[in-house]
Amino acid sequence: MSSISHDELQHIRERLGQARGPQYWRSLEELAESETFGQFLNQEFPRLGAVWEAPMDRRGALKLMAASMALAGLTACGRQPLEFIVPYVNMPEGEVPGMPRYYATSHLIGGYAHGLLAQAHQGRPVKLEGNPDHPATLGACDVFSQASVLSLYDPDRSAAVMNRGEVAGYGTFLLELNEKRLVWDDTQGRGLHLLTGSLTSPSQFAYLQALLERWPQARWYVHEPIDRYAVYAGTERLFGEPREAVYHFDQALVVASLGADFMQAQPGFLRYAHDFMEQRRPRDNDGFLARLYAVESTPSITGSIADHRYRLPYHQTLDFARQFAVAMGLDVEPPAQPVVPDSWLQPMVDDLQRHAGRAVVVPGDQQPPEVHAIAHAINERLGAYGKTVTYIEPVDVGHTARPLSELTGEIQDGRVESLVVMGTNPVYTAPADLDFQQAYRQVPWRLHWGEYYDETGQVSHWHIPARHPLETWADARAYDGTISLLQPLIQPLHGGKSALQFLAAMGQGTDEDARRLLIDYWLEQYVGSDFETFWRRSLRDGMVADSAFATLNSPLRDDWMHTLSFAPGERIPDDAITLQLQPDPAVWDGSYANNGWLQELPRPLTKLTWNNALLISPVLAQEYGLKEGDVVRVKAQAGEAEVEVPVYPLPGMPDRAVTLQLGYGRKGIGHIADGVGSDAYVFHTTDRHWASPVTLETLDRHETLATTQNHHAIHGRDLIRATTLEEYRKHPEFAKHPGPHESLYPEPWPAEREAEYAWGMAVDLTACIGCNACVTACQAENNIPIVGPEEVSRGREMHWIRIDRYFEGPPESPHLFFQPVLCMHCENAPCEYVCPVEATQHSASGLNEMIYNRCIGTRYCSQNCPYKVRRFNWFDYTGEQATYTQPEPVHNPEVTVRSRGVMEKCTFCVQRINRARITADIDDEPIPDGALQTACQQACPTQAIVFGDISDERSHVRRLKDHPLSYGMLEHLNTRPRVSYLAGVGNPNHDVEAPQPDPLVAPEQEKANVHQASAEGLDYDEQIVRIFEPDPIANGRGGKA
């Protein structure tokens, strides 16, 4: 329609010549009213063509315009993608924008529920906190639960039903499933096999039971990588029935742990840590302190805080248990030779017997059943039953199911036609000798339900995405049997089906409502009259009231000793190197591997991030000439398993034992998990579950390990002050060291400022167990980015609170000290006066505040900070250039997300302070003491952190600051920190002889070697421990450095 004829032009001219007023036209063709324009219009806009041709008056045109305007809005409808992440359109009743709401829910760790309160901002969960009413948490929160909120927004979470590697619809799945169901109906379920993880949910168990009843030929198996088989097997041998032990450390004065990390890795650990430390509070009561003995292989945080720790390779723990039992007067066959000298064992036995009724022995979950049987027999002897330990029916009903090894046998026999894998990942975690992947691929029909499209999902015919705990309706039992409820805070972000929905689909072949399914179960269970009230109350509380299991009377079997087998057959020779496998303190069995917060969490003892190095003893490291990061090849003595892994020498490891944590070496899971660390499951075999003999072979390779603390010796500095209970009673003020010189100008404490409150904090070093709960809490609360292993190894981690870990004593049996270090909010802050742009300032209530907008990044504040608690955004860690972007919705809307080039640090959770202040202002009352908690304080299971108003003489924190144990770190610099520490007090037994130093290498020689290494100027990583003397005179003056 480009050409226009001469005639037409002529015509136009004539028309324009006659026209009056302005005349608008879009093209010459239109102007010419030519035939071609009409054709064009008809082709392009057929309807408009009709309008164009129709006789049109002014009224008609206006009508048409009005109609088009009205209909214009409709174009916005229909094609809009479903956007669940936009929380709501109509504000829910009672919602106040900007005010977070809390809902009680739960998180499962190894199947055991931790009661939580989830904080939601405008319908978006951003923070998980402990549920104060829940028996497993008492308001504290562990690292896994807290970090799970990040997993909710994980873009790598499974987002679609997958059918043989292709995205499919759930309806298609149901069609195929229903075909299978018809077959199962015919055959009574022959060939149908179900594999689940550990199961503590009553409703899921009921639905599962219904399936098994409907198809009696179907089989149910359980595979949980960090299983508790030995707990039930051991108690079964002792009592004749499997039992779950629940410990009551609040009743215990003397505790002995047999390889049990009950403060970090056993169901109920938060509660246990809390209860144990209740009995160990010199700040409240120095009349007594609970005493802890630990015999273990790999140093754990429980062993680290023990008053006496004896290191034994994993396989000798049973020998120790037998030796222990004999010493307790039990009729148990003694070991071939004692593994622990009597000078160590006997005082412990005496101590336990002296405190009979208030003593308890705790066997580790990963110890063999015999250790459990013996430990609980000792408990009976100690009169612990009903006092410091009670027994309930097993919380995990999975112990009644068949084990995985039976399933692989069935597969090999060709009897498995359909395999349904539910919430577990056996292709990755199954014992290596089963070669589960090979077996699994032989199953004709494989169905997987899980949160990630993981190793198992990828080789399944069907993969159904599971809901995240914060999206789901479910129930589960806690360590004591309390039924805890999980309720969704958000619509499933990626679709996904709840466990009950999946089980219902299996049973009925339909897609049911997740909430309805759960309620239906509880309606059936509920016997009272007012279900609505019961249900609402349970949801509000996050648990079903009084649902904990009742204590069972547990008499010992008469012949229990004969049920134990001490077969020497498969024993590990004592001179072999024992490899112990452990759940990882950050990624557990690998299910948290794609969680950036956890990957970057410094592991409590090694301060290692983003890796699982092989932990070896300094002696072994010396024998093999290994330094931190040197790569070795670990080979199983039996079988072909081998792994190349960097080593990390850890003081306190038994000389000939090495440890590798599980959960790493994932492939194809997500951008965080992939390629991090090495897979330790290759050493995991059916008969050698947790330990096996290995050989080491040094390789000429080195990897830089991303650790957050490179120096482990304290160099005689008095940063940490600790002593024994006896010394403390003699010198209660031992921690008070001479302060700075008197100033001519009086400096009142706290400094006189025109504010109502003076915020301060006290950190109790006795109570701190180094569990990292505070670190994760701070990360979640304060939008702290993750930076990745490269940046961490360059010293650029961003955590606002770090837990320093120092060793004391000889490298073989060191004491560990943990010290949380955060911004001290100094009254005389060295950071403040050096900032050229006044970007860091003091508030009236004593906070040292960062003004991000004003910061230009001179980093002078960090240089001048003696505590080195400031963190700098070296790159864009939060925006588009970030390597590890955090999903936007997980950010706490009350905290600024920092940009590149600015300094940041602990704010004492100023957003919480301000919210409390606003609430108090509205109520016209002062903020009550204890009502305001910082995130770290709130998460701490042992209440090691206390925050409050130090100008209020009755406040808790002020009382602690006035306590004789209180001291300020680096006080001689006259920084006058607002954070003070309560010196650590231990309660060692003087009759216990310290373990002898290792004959292989004398400590002097070790020191000499290190000295030489550091003189070379290259190996700055001192792998030794220097003796720290808690003696005020020796410190700060001697120039020992």
């Binding site: 304290i714 002078y860 001048n864």
Partner: protein, 454 residues
Amino acid sequence: MNRHDKHRPLLPPDLTHARLTERISNLVLRDPSPRSWFVALLVCALIALMFFAALGYVFEVGVGLFGINIPVAWGFPITNTIWWIGIAHAGTLISAVLLITRQPWRASINRFAEAMAMFAVVLAGAYPIIHLGRPWFFYYLLPYPNDMELWPQWRSPLVWDFFAIFTYLAFTASFMYLSLLPDLATLRDRASSWFGRVFYGTLAIGWRGSATHWARYEKANMILSSVAAPIVVAVTGIISLDLAVSIVPGYHFTIFPPYFVAGALFSGFSTVALLAVLLRSMFGLQDLVTRTHLDYLGRMMLVFALVVDYAYTQEMFFAWYSGEDYYRYVYIDRWTGPYAPAWWSMIFCNVVLVQLLWFKRVRRSPIAMLCLAITSDIGMWLERFQIVFTSTHADYMPSAWGEAWPTVWDWAVFIGSLGVFGVLLLLFVRIMPLISLHDMRGLIAKRNKGGEDG
């Protein structure tokens, strides 16, 4: 001085006013550039390109490219600032202090020493901005009126720094321009091209060489020179306060201001010697910048090196005498820790090698002086490096200890700045007389009068 002049004259005996003027102005106006000049310019320009490319990337991505971290949050940019500002100092000292003390040997070297000072200050001023996490907000350091009613914080040495460097830049620029004035007029008069006449004529702002002009010139020159001495001391002193005012062991030493001034002058004289050797051979000026000049420069280097060495001993003494573990540990760590090679190299360069300057043959040998000038500059750079890096890498809390090692970007920005410096200097010597004509004429006049009042 007279005795020396007779034996080792600072001027060739046959040098007259006319020949001097002809030679020096021809270097600018007539002679083609020597081939070595082109080669040097090309090399320097390529290095300078690398500087700007690296800077562009650093500004785009962030200072995380540099090898710094917590605890070592200051790195190469701070090291380089102190180093460049130190180099700048000798220029001012030669032009001003030696003028006041009437040292005749300054005449032939003061021009390029001033130019060196000028360009070194420019680079010294650039690094603090490169150092910033958010360099686009550098103006927050300025006391400009704003609606937040915020001023810089006057207690922070970084603000003092800003003013010190700015003052120094302003002073150096005006001082150099003043001393260029009579020579610009000479060039204006001798320029044959229209562009030359306009260019130099504009810059000469009507200098006619009248007695009134000269009288005012002399007065202004003397005033600026008198101001120069305190500025020289104050600027480096203030830069050193960046470190000394902090509470970091290894930074917090009261001797830092004089120690840094001595160090600055040591590196400054070394750089003047370096440039003297290079330029005299590049432009064939061996008879004007003589071995005697090198001798004097060598003596100055020796004097200030000895002051620096004395400061080292005092620093160590104070670390021990303070009785503080932390300070003592910093020293032990400097000797034995991961950065020990830097410390010992520094001692080798600044303490051991400079002792060669006691020997007259060394001082009068251009090659030896070139080598010693380079090692002294390296030594002084290492001194700043180890102060900046070792002090916080192992300060109060062992748990926070860590190391930072320079990355390729650190080196690119550091070495690149040498290229920028080279380009600026090479361009300068082609468009300005690299030997002060009027100062030399004064010297010739004095010699002609019999050298009685030298």
